[in-house]
Symmetry: C2
């Protein structure tokens, strides 16, 4: 592990992307989102995940110079066609309009379509919560998960995230997948020849399994059984509403030459219009201080100016930046 | 069991309410919602639940002639203070404005506050989906459930429901609590001296328990562990945003003389503005027909014109209507 100042990590990410001829604006947006994920401690979608993007740019699954089209089909609705590029850049392009419309109308939503998988989903609502807005984000992703007893992979691990501003401190940001576990945990268990808990996955024939190798060929299960599946279904329906690929037809993010082209939905609300003040913030303080509620998301007091990253990842990153 | 035409059940409900001197408009709204719950097969919040309302009106927990105040603090935001009355009536009062604003701006939301518990939550998004809108509803309720490892009851069973229009057939409506089980199931198990599954509840000291009697004095747990708890927290934050009581301070719905005064959030979107047509409907058909996904909510083909109800409940209802 090395401790690296965030501006240095940002620059290393950006240079690696530019070395692949990625457009400056996409490179900056993705470097920023990658560093933010590390700062909030969500390293699974931080630097380690950047290599999925780098491989995606290299192989053409992600467009290096996408033509992003932002439109507004209704006063509170914004759509951003990511043009086969990254969601973070499309988001940045639509953000000023989303902020403006949310403040003007009280509420607005952005749909991103035709993008690579979203990375750290919490990034989007956190950005809005830092502007004083409440935000809920949902995204779909290539199919890995069964719902409704199907033996097929129907939905992605479809994450949901939300951000709630807390004046004077970091916003509350929750970010979670709809699957009982991440696919990588099943793959790791299979490599170690370990069993997996019941409720994580089905085998290829749709039977519940504790055999990790069988689960790799099968399908994940939603968290919390059919109720989690119903949440994942809502995410699928809203995330694809403006034309994002359904999970079931979306190409994988980590192989082939075609990108997933999935969708994301981002709802923003301006709480100041409802005049609720710091009522919820006081309630959050009360349930944690007086009732012992532990929410890890509330325990983040500041975002660090330096982060610990794996030396091997830094070396890989620098090899991308300096290929010779 | 008796089979009763729905207009007859509606009239019996309405007369029982009027006999308690409930305002005609509240009585009609509640009779309608009660019959609808029976028609969609959700009888736990149908006729059986009406007696909780009747008792609430009788004892003053629900205002019989509430002063409902509907306001619009922003173009897409509507608040309805239910005045201590039922949520269904406040909803009906705000509905025309909600429909109008959703169609005008693409999206709008209604917050109900200061109301009795919402009854069948699916009723609200179903009403909007029948108008061609996508809707998501969330409500809180008096605290029964622990989150974040607390030994206290922090949240209600905070339900979420959504409706998705399907032209030519009934809308898809999903309606579920955020708790692993309903409190009534724990009470029934305690009466029968049966154990309950792990993951349903904590005892009074916050320890996981399989002892139903200990759970009755303890707290429910969310579905799907902390992920379900995070969904319940989002529901709490959004449902109370316009001033509804937090679950933790809300008086119970079934005892005392003060109503819960909780909140509900209802988001409506006009999908026609996004031009997605019947894409999602075809996808739903495909995952059910080709991939064996079973969604009970999709299997409801028509709403019946008559329903089967328990004779004892009908007798009780008629005694309310004809108290002499």
């Amino acid at each position: 592990m090395s401790t690296i100042p965030i501006h240095q990590l940002h620059e290393a990410c950006r240079r690696a992307l530019l070395a692949l001829d990625v457009d400056e604006r996409s490179a900056s947006a993705l470097a920023h989102a990658t560093v933010e994920a590390e700062r909030v401690g969500n390293s699974a979608v931080g630097l380690a995940h950047l290599f999925d993007y780098l491989d995606g740019f290299r192989t053409g699954r992600i467009d290096r110079r996408p033509r992003v089209v932002v439109e507004s089909p209704a006063p509170t609705m914004i759509t951003a066609d990511a043009g086969g590029g990254i969601a973070q850049y499309a988001f940045g392009r639509a953000l000023p309009d989303l902020l403006h419309r949310t403040r003007e109308y009280g509420m607005a939503a952005l749909w991103i379509r035709n993008s690579f998988t979203v990375g750290e989903l919490g990034y989007y609502p956190r950005t809005l919560a830092n502007e004083g807005l409440i935000a809920v984000a949902m995204a779909n992703s290539p199919a890995l998960m069964s719902i409704g007893g199907s033996s097929s992979r129907i939905l992605g691990t479809n994450p949901i995230a939300y951000g709630y501003p807390q004046p004077g401190r970091l916003p509350l940001v929750i970010d979670q997948a709809s699957s009982a576990t991440a696919f990588v945990n099943i793959r790791k268990a299979a490599e170690r020849q370990e069993s997996i808990p019941r409720g994580w996955a089905l085998d290829h024939d749709g039977r519940p399994t504790e055999d990790a190798a069988a689960a790799v060929d099968g399908a994940l299960l939603p968290f919390g059984s059919h109720r989690g599946g119903n949440i994942a279904l809502l995410i699928e329906l809203l995330a694809t509403l403006a034309g994002g690929s359904f999970s079931i037809g979306a190409p994988p993010f980590d192989s082939g030459s075609e990108g997933p082209g999935i969708g994301a939905f981002l709802l923003a609300l301006d709480p100041t219009r409802l005049g609720s003040g710091d009522r919820a913030q006081r309630w959050l303080q009360r349930i944690t201080a007086e009732h012992g509620v532990r929410l890890p998301a509330l325990e983040l007091e500041t975002l660090p100016d330096q982060v610990d990253v794996d030396d091997e990842l830094v070396d890989r990153l620098n090899r991308y930046a300096n290929p010779d």
